[in-house]
């Protein structure tokens, strides 16, 4: 990361209304290549809405979103035709759902799940799809012997790792993670976080991770954003925000973490 790099993602004034309530209100953020940004806040604070807007899945009532692709071309995401947006979705972006079942195809094998993006991007050599699939399963610490088994036979933590492999196989540059660890028990969480930290560092992946767990934010993110009632109440370097919270809500959030 250097100041000379142009930002990967630029969002200004994103506003989503659900009827007369706000999903998120006037949210602006900039993300540079390789940077990890955590979005924290209590449930219902608009974190997931924001993430879905950033993924181009919800069109906001106001605001703009620009994404710069690998060829250094900047796109206005909401002005893109569907076909071009889908191409970005399956090449440059990764979206990891909180519940792995939402992000996996439960009817096909683990290998097919992992290789789907490659096939969608036009790879037509079965052997090479198979090889990269194995490689990615190893990378996320799944047994390659289970490549032809259904993800339904996998544990929750394994399904989550499979979902990560399935998203990262196409070499995306932006990962959007929606509470990827919240459905897992503590020891599995720790391993998954370790894995995510390794992957974001080694791949130079720009990441937005939504979480309500401040420990996750501290471990993974360089910067963080605190949301409450759809608004960003505080942003800054993770350590700064956690050690010296300014906004009363952030202070409450930090104080409510059991200290051990």
């Amino acid at each position: 990361m250097s100041d000379l790099d142009p930002p990967l993602l630029r969002a200004t004034g994103l506003t989503v209304r659900y009827g007369d309530r706000y999903g998120c209100q006037d949210v602006s953020l900039t993300l540079w290549p390789g940077e990890v940004l955590a979005v924290v806040g209590e449930s219902g604070s608009g974190k997931t809405t924001l993430l879905r807007v950033l993924a181009g899945r919800i069109t906001p009532q106001a605001g703009t979103l620009h994404y710069r692709d690998a060829a250094n071309h900047e796109y206005d995401v909401f002005a893109l035709p569907d076909a071009a947006r889908r191409r970005l979705e399956r090449t440059e972006w990764a979206f990891v759902h909180q519940n792995p079942r939402d992000g996996l195809r439960m009817a096909v094998s683990a290998g097919a799940n992992t290789g789907e993006r490659l096939m969608a991007n036009g790879v037509r050599h079965w052997g090479s799809i198979r090889a990269s699939t194995r490689q990615w399963m190893e990378r996320v610490e799944l047994e390659t012997a289970r490549i032809d088994e259904s993800p339904a036979t996998f544990s929750g933590g394994m399904q989550q790792r499979l979902q990560i492999a399935r998203n990262l196989i196409s070499g995306p540059r932006l990962a959007l993670l929606d509470e990827p660890t919240s459905a897992l028990d503590v020891s599995v969480q720790a391993r998954l976080l370790d894995l995510l930290r390794g992957l974001t560092r080694s791949l130079g992946l720009a990441t937005v991770i939504v979480t309500h767990d401040l420990a996750v934010a501290r471990l993974l993110a360089q910067r963080m954003m605190v949301m409450k009632d759809g608004k960003v109440v505080e942003t800054g370097l993770t350590d700064q925000v956690l050690d010296d919270p300014h906004h009363p809500y952030t202070q409450l959030l930090v104080a409510s973490v059991p200290q051990g």
Binding site: A83, R86, R105, M119, R124, W126, G127
Partner: protein, 279 residues
């Protein structure tokens, strides 16, 4: 060629009313203009059950003229119940000539086969289609499937073939094999055997596909490029048989396995009865 049956005056020519025929012809024209694209049409109730060829029959009724010669086959055979009944129905409601010979026919309605005798320019082949959507079992949402067609986003179909190879070591799909039409639309060729798929490519005859229950028509105009989906290292392969036809000795045709007696003796014979008889 059989003697023409007299047109039963109780029915309009070719059963359907003229406005319905015009509606179907308009859909056919659109389907021909966009090869492989599924055109919706207002499918009518026909006097036979869904699954017996209501879609194909409507196309045939909309197209047939007094100087047409009709052939109807079911699994390659001219003399099975479905073929006999549809042939008799059309003969009675139109009075046109019918035939069992592929070379004489101008209009052929078929269920699940393409005749072995190569088709000529000017002939029309009408397929009965149970399910026109190749991704029906892969993506349950119609809206999403339409979007996938609109964007030629067919990775999912390739996933199915991938699964076949992972499970069976080869693509195990033997009928209704998915094809790409002119590098644009993914198409279901109706449940014809894999063996017949190469006959779709660059065919001089017009091929029309009608799905009555699903209310869709799709088409391959003459000389359209049709390629089966496959992988570079697992290319598409036609079926082969070790034996020749027990009746005519043909080695080039699609063979059906028949059980001959209670002891389970088997024979392979041509599925195309007209071809078998001509050998």
């Amino acid at each position: 060629m059989s003697d023409p049956t007299i047109h039963d005056p109780a029915f309009n020519f070719a059963y359907l009313d003229e406005q319905t025929k015009r509606m179907i012809r308009r859909s056919i024209l659109k389907a021909v203009a966009i090869p492989g694209y599924q055109v919706p049409f207002a499918s009518r109730e026909m006097p036979l059950p869904y699954g017996w060829g209501t879609g194909g029959l409507q196309l045939t009724c909309a197209l047939i003229g007094l100087d047409d010669v009709l052939k109807v086959i079911d699994q390659g055979a001219d003399d099975t119940t479905n073929a006999v009944n549809i042939r008799r129905f059309i003969a009675r409601t139109t009075g046109v000539q019918t035939t069992t010979q592929t070379t004489e026919a101008t209009l052929i309605q078929t269920r699940h086969r393409i005749p072995e005798t190569p088709l000529k320019a000017g002939q029309i082949l009408v397929f009965q289609v149970p399910q026109p959507e190749p991704m029906f079992r892969l993506e349950p949402r119609e809206t999403e499937r339409r979007r996938m067609h609109a964007m030629a986003d067919y990775g999912l179909m390739q996933v199915r073939l991938y699964e076949d190879i992972a499970r069976h070591g080869r693509v195990a799909t033997t009928y209704d094999y998915p094809v790409m039409v002119e590098d644009r639309y993914l198409m279901s060729p109706s449940p014809i055997p894999k063996f017949d798929v190469p006959k779709l490519d660059q065919s001089p005859a017009l091929m029309l596909f009608g799905a009555g229950r699903e209310k869709r028509i799709h088409a391959l105009p003459p000389f359209t490029r049709v390629e089966p989906l496959d992988f570079d290292d697992y290319p598409f392969e036609r079926q082969r048989w070790d034996s020749a036809c027990a009746l005519c000795g043909s080695r080039e045709s699609f063979l059906d396995e028949m059980i001959m007696d209670d002891a389970g003796a088997r024979q392979f014979i041509c599925s195309d009865t007209d071809w078998c008889g001509a050998q």
